[in-house]
């Protein structure tokens, strides 16, 4: 037995009939349009929510800034920072969805690795930044609404909120985050291995 014989058998094997290409195109167009509509709806929904939140926050700020102190101003600032970080991360994540499958496999795998690194960074670094900014906001808000209460009441409220956020963070890290990171790390290892074996 030699390789050429095998190659000959291989090339003569019965193959799947592609069928009617018009039907095939129609099915693909339907699937593509459905996907596009979904992306458009999601983007529109997110943009409208984002805009409404910005307008709502601006309204609150200009209506009540005379009644509140520095903590109120600071919380508004951090909410805006948080929203813009969320927007930037969402846009960058969206950009990674436009992959080019017509490039060579090594470049394609490198792109997949970059995408996975970004997903990891989003979960770890930006997740922490998000929680930290949210915590500052809650602290500022608590500081403001408890301004008439005693110091014990104010710091107790802040401690309870901090404790609640920490518990939520730990729970999330031990469950969803752990699972997501495990899956990302496994894929990263597989892709790196495949890339190395293709290159060497």
């Amino acid at each position: 037995m030699n390789f050429e014989d095998l190659q000959h058998s291989w090339k003569n094997q019965p193959v799947k009939d592609p069928g009617d290409t018009d039907q095939l195109k129609l099915a693909m167009e339907t699937s593509w349009n459905k996907h596009q509509r979904k992306v458009l709806r999601t983007n529109l929904f997110l943009s409208i929510c984002f805009l409404m939140t910005c307008v709502g926050l601006a309204f609150i700020y200009f209506s009540y800034r005379a009644h509140f102190g520095w903590a109120f101003q600071l919380s508004m600032l951090f909410i805006y920072i948080l929203m813009f970080i969320f927007l930037a991360v969402s846009w960058k994540s969206y950009g990674f969805r436009k992959e080019n499958r017509a490039e060579n496999s090594t470049s394609y795998i490198c792109y997949q690795l970059k995408k996975l690194q970004w997903q990891r960074k989003t979960i770890t670094v930006y997740g922490r930044v998000y929680v930290f900014l949210l915590w500052i906001d809650f602290m500022c808000y608590t500081w403001e609404v408890t301004s008439d209460g005693s110091a014990l009441f104010r710091f107790s409220a802040m401690a309870v909120i901090t404790f609640y956020i920490i518990v939520l963070m730990i729970w999330q890290r031990l469950t969803q985050q752990k699972k997501a990171l495990k899956s990302i790390d496994e894929l990263t290892s597989d892709f790196s291995q495949l890339k190395n074996k293709l290159e060497n």
Binding site: K11, K16, A102, N104, Y108, D190, F191, L194
Partner: protein, 167 residues
């Protein structure tokens, strides 16, 4: 590319390459139903990418690149099918029906099984070798230098022949 031209291109692509695409799927995945899913996914990706075809490489290299990359992506999404030795359950019917099959069909089935025993990157390369692609074309599709590809191909061919002889 205009809509009409795009349609013509797609028809021609399917006509000229569907057999190669299907064989790549069969080389990459032993299970025929999974290979069918991958085949559909590749045709979808080819159709989706048509607008971005700039003619920097030959149309055949372009199609093979999409096929190989889609296979890589398919594998990462369906991890359980990745480089796994087929369970005994799959091998028993194969052994059992061997006598009934024509010699050619049996050999082909055995070849598919032997390919499924290779590692992922070797399956990708052998699927292109079986399609009679040159070292140069394979290195363009995979993205490595052709000397490396040559060494790998010889090693994979030898492994396949050894596995085929084992039976």
């Amino acid at each position: 590319m205009s809509g009409e031209k795009e349609e013509e291109y797609f028809n021609a692509l399917v006509k000229n390459h569907h057999a190669s695409i299907y064989r790549i799927c069969r080389a990459y995945l032993y299970d025929a139903s999974l290979a069918d899913d991958l085949y559909q996914e590749i045709l979808y990706q080819v159709w989706k990418s048509l607008k971005s075809f700039k003619g920097n490489s030959s149309i055949s290299t372009w199609v093979y690149r999409i096929s190989v990359n889609t296979a890589i992506s398919f594998n990462s999404k369906n991890k359980r099918h990745q480089y796994e030795t087929l369970p005994d359950l799959y091998q028993v019917p194969y052994e059992h029906t061997l006598v009934k099959k024509q010699e050619e069909e049996a050999r082909l089935d055995h070849l598919r099984y032997c390919i499924s025993l290779l590692e992922q990157q070797d399956r990708l390369i052998i699927s292109l070798v079986l399609e009679d692609k040159s070292y140069q074309e394979i290195s363009e599709i995979i993205g490595t230098n052709s000397n490396n590809v040559g060494v790998k191909i010889n090693r994979i061919k030898a492994r396949i022949l050894k596995l085929m002889e084992k039976k």
